[in-house]
């Protein structure tokens, strides 16, 4: 069997450079692995574990310091094979904008084969075929910069396919896409693998994406930490050690089995139906121990609308072209003090436009936004004199906020907004230090250059810059994007702690599981209009409602609902509580409901 064979490879960035005095940590160390032709492999690992480096080595964009890489029998160290190997492997990278070379769609698709010297008419045939394969043929004469994120990534695949590669590497290619575009994108790539026998390698932080693969390789600090089929990995490997998590459905299943005093095996994880079957079996086992001190389920949150209203959006319309089309229309939304409000919707639905209005960066075409920072005070976005105070009351953290850092030190950057507020030096210092502490940055980080920090730290520094202004309402656009599973959890823990400290939080997200698990209420936007604003329980508890609105159920809810239906088949008397979206919490609720029903039976 032909393989991509990585043999004892070590690679250090900048090792050929002059800076020998401070040898950097190797990005990959004594790594060996094999990937079979035509297989579908996921490479997982925390940020900085060497995943992207591996992709670059396979495509000979970098060359290993030591060790050998053989791609289908061709050694990458052999200079005469260099172009042959590179021609046969193609990459799609994370940021759609930074891999488009051509101005027009078809010109960009042609870029690769043009470099290979493919002549007309074959060139034209390849380009057209590639565009048809991924479904962007209709867009061929459009300007590439005007496409949506999902379309741009499809364009990137088309550009790769036009080179007729044998290996296609997706390097976090779905990280910036919403769930629907993500599914479409992966379907295209998987389809090409089936039809053209491509070897597909996907580097990802998304565990449900990894579940789709035939094999998973986990990297940790440049070394191979584990390898196997998805069921084996998710059954046997302690993923937390590598900054990873199990997929939510599997986390839920494991907690349920643990409560029942059973364990799951690799075989149970080979399919969702099989997993449910096994769980039903565990729960209907007569010998199931009836644990008297079953952990109480967490309390339901109090009714949000009894709290004080802190912001009210009234009949808001917004247009970028003077009223011909509206990016958002007729938006009415109340925000209550101390809540976490989630705003969900597909890319381009108007989420970012809406939040830009919340702190008066954009002016409404019509309508009003009122903010009540304290009792008896009303700020209006249409009143010019209120604008400055609104911006201080509503802090806005855009997506990838780390790209806005500009000062020489983290401390100065955090203080930027405070200087603009003309606060005294002492006040600035006090606030900056406190804000840094709130986001979990060590004190010595304050003196450092923000551009030297790791990605996660940069983002924290940027958030601190907004927090230091002591906003009463903090709006975050996709705060966890690009972070690995552990990083995401930390980010949401941070958000939760800010809420505990009294800040009202508004989060924009397209991850339904996270929105459902962390938000008190969820506001669904579609085509610029608010479809519904509800608690996650009320929203996702009703499958028909979500279908009508056109939003996805969280993965945990999909799995749990199917399981509940299965349980009812054997135990019709079970009454389930309202759904929860934290996998462990939901498992406890399901388990408790089953136990209660059985106790009743005994009596």
């Amino acid at each position: 069997m032909e393989t991509i064979s990585v043999q004892d490879v070590t690679f250090t960035y900048g090792s050929e450079g002059a800076d020998v005095s401070a040898p950097a940590e190797p990005a990959l160390e004594n790594l060996s692995l094999e990937i079979e032709r035509g297989s579908y492999t996921a490479i997982l690992g925390a940020n900085g574990s060497g995943k992207s480096t591996l992709a670059k080595l396979i495509d000979i964009i970098e060359v290993p310091d030591s060790g050998r890489i053989v791609v289908f029998g061709k050694d990458t160290a052999d200079d005469s094979l260099f172009w042959q190997i590179r021609e046969k492997s193609a990459c799609v990278f994370q940021n759609p904008d930074n891999q488009i070379v051509g101005t027009i769609v078809e010109e960009d698709v042609a870029f690769g084969p043009e470099n290979l010297g493919i002549k007309l008419p074959e060139l034209r045939e390849r380009v057209d075929q590639a565009m048809k394969d991924v479904g962007i043929y209709e867009l061929r004469l459009r300007e590439a910069s005007g496409l949506s994120g999902g379309q741009k990534q499809k364009l990137a695949i088309a550009g790769a396919l036009a080179m007729r590669p044998e290996v296609l590497i997706l390097d976090e290619a779905t990280a910036m896409l919403d769930p629907r575009s993500r599914d479409e994108f992966l379907a295209v790539a998987e389809d090409m693998r089936r039809k053209k026998g491509l070897t597909l390698i996907t580097i990802t932080h998304d565990m449900s994406e990894a579940m789709r693969c035939g094999r998973i390789i986990i990297l940790s600090k440049g070394k191979k930490a584990a390898e196997g089929t998805p069921p084996k990995i998710f059954a046997d490997v302690e993923l937390e050690k590598y900054g990873l998590r199990r997929p939510v459905a599997i986390r839920f299943a494991y907690e349920l089995a643990r409560l029942a005093g059973r364990t799951l095996t690799e075989e149970d994880l080979t399919g969702e139906a099989r997993l449910r079957e096994r769980l039903v079996k565990i729960l209907s086992d007569p010998s199931l121990k009836e644990d008297p001190d079953l952990p109480e389920t967490g309390p339901d949150n109090g009714t949000i609308s009894e709290r004080r209203k802190i912001m009210s959006v009234k009949d808001l319309f917004s247009s970028y072209d003077g009223g011909r089309t509206f990016a958002i229309k007729n938006v009415n939304l109340d925000v209550y003090e101390g809540e976490i409000l989630g705003i969900v919707g597909e890319s381009g639905c108007g989420k970012t436009t809406l939040i830009s209005h919340l702190n008066s960066i954009l002016k409404p075409s019509s309508g009003e936004i009122e903010i009540y920072p304290e009792d008896g005070v009303t700020l209006r976005c249409t009143q010019k004199k209120d604008v400055q105070r609104i911006r201080q009351t509503v802090g806005l953290v855009f997506q990838y906020p780390e790209y806005q850092l500009f000062e020489e030190t983290v401390y100065k950057d955090i203080c930027y907004g405070l200087r603009k507020m003309k606060l005294s030096a002492d006040e600035q210092k006090g606030r900056a230090v406190k804000a840094a502490k709130a986001v979990g940055l060590e004190k010595d980080v304050l003196r450092r250059n923000p551009f030297e920090l790791s990605g996660g730290q940069k983002r924290r520094a940027a958030i601190a810059g907004v927090l230091a202004m002591r906003p009463k309402i903090l709006v975050l656009d996709e705060p966890a994007s690009g972070l690995d599973p552990a990083g995401r959890e930390e980010m949401f823990a941070l958000i939760n702690s800010l809420r505990e400290a009294g800040t009202t939080i508004i989060i924009v997200s397209h991850n339904m599981d996270e929105a459902a698990a962390y938000c008190d209420r969820i506001c669904c936007i579609r085509d610029g209009e608010i479809k519904v604003t509800e608690t996650p329980e009320a929203l996702f508890g009703d499958k028909e409602k979500t279908a009508v609105i056109g939003i996805d159920q969280p993965k945990i809810t999909k799995f749990s609902d199917l399981l509940k239906a299965d349980i009812r088949k054997t135990m019709p008397q079970v009454e389930f509580e309202s759904p929860k979206f934290d996998p462990e919490e939901e498992a406890r609720r399901v388990y408790r409901a089953v136990l209660k029903a059985r106790l009743k039976d005994v009596k």
Binding site: I61, C91, F93, L116, F406
Partner: protein, 269 residues
């Protein structure tokens, strides 16, 4: 905030001039540049205006779009007009009031200068920017300057750089807009205050923009590497430039007009 910037805007249409080979258009553009600066006599200028009208007709560009391209230079054109009127002292005096002297030579000179500027803008936009996509312009330059490769001028690389720069203009405008919004939400103010303060304010945009441009450049270089880019040698083109009979016809026709204008001007002097 920055959406109204239109750098070398392309006007989508299907016209004779749109279809003409960009190399012909570039050459014609240079020819007309020379013509605009040669002709002096009123009759020839009138004729030139007529030829430009024919070009507009050939480009099928709406009059409102033509007006939009010309409008921004009208203040400058008027300024040049007035400046010339007041500073030129040769010729017969037409008007004398306090320190203001206007002569007949001054009037004709001033009108000529102002009209030249308008013609210049019109011919640039009709011959090139409105009717030719940026990529085609850079293709044309690559092809026209190809002979310079003999003396080791990196013609292909320069054309590639130009087309990538053009490709990234919308991306960077979008990015600038995002950064500005983020800084505004932290209290930055780009619209008020003294000139110096405003310039200083832009540092908060420029530094992140530079950093991100470098990051983009690096990622783009890797992506181009991955797609086997290795310079211009042996590279083929999806839409190679091809001269057709129509292109030559348009070329000779407009060239003949230009020659006619110059001959007419020289005989009338």
């Amino acid at each position: 905030m920055l959406s109204d910037i239109s750098l070398g805007r392309y006007y989508k249409a299907d016209s004779i001039l749109h279809r003409t080979d960009p190399r012909i258009k570039t050459l014609l553009y240079v020819v007309y540049l020379v013509v605009i600066f040669i002709v002096k006599t009123p009759a020839a200028i009138g004729a030139l205006a007529g030829v430009i009208l024919i070009q507009i007709f050939m480009a099928k560009v709406r009059p409102s779009v033509i007006w939009q391209t010309v409008r921004p230079v009208i203040p400058l054109s008027l300024f040049i007009l007035i400046l010339n009127l007041l500073t030129i002292k040769q010729g017969n005096v037409l008007l004398q009031w306090k320190f203001i002297t206007v002569t007949d030579y001054g009037v004709s000179r001033a009108v000529l200068m102002a009209v030249r500027l308008v013609f210049l803008i019109l011919s640039t936009s009709i011959m090139l920017t409105l009717t030719t996509t940026p990529l085609k312009i850079s293709d044309a330059l690559e092809s026209l300057f190809a002979p310079l490769r003999i003396i080791k001028v990196p013609v292909h690389e320069m054309a590639m750089m130009m087309s990538i720069a053009l490709r990234f203009i919308p991306t960077l405008i979008e990015e600038t807009d995002k950064i500005m919004k983020a800084q505004v939400s932290r209290g930055a103010d780009y619209d008020t205050g003294s000139f110096l303060n405003r310039v200083k304010g832009y540092i908060t945009v420029l530094i992140p923009l530079f950093v991100s441009s470098f990051r983009r450049a690096e990622e783009l270089a890797v992506a181009m590497d991955a797609r086997c880019y290795r310079g211009g040698d042996g590279r083929t083109k999806l839409n190679p430039l091809k001269l057709t009979g129509n292109d030559l016809l348009v070329g000779w026709f407009l060239f003949a007009c230009a020659t006619g204008l110059v001959v007419m001007d020289l005989t009338l002097r």
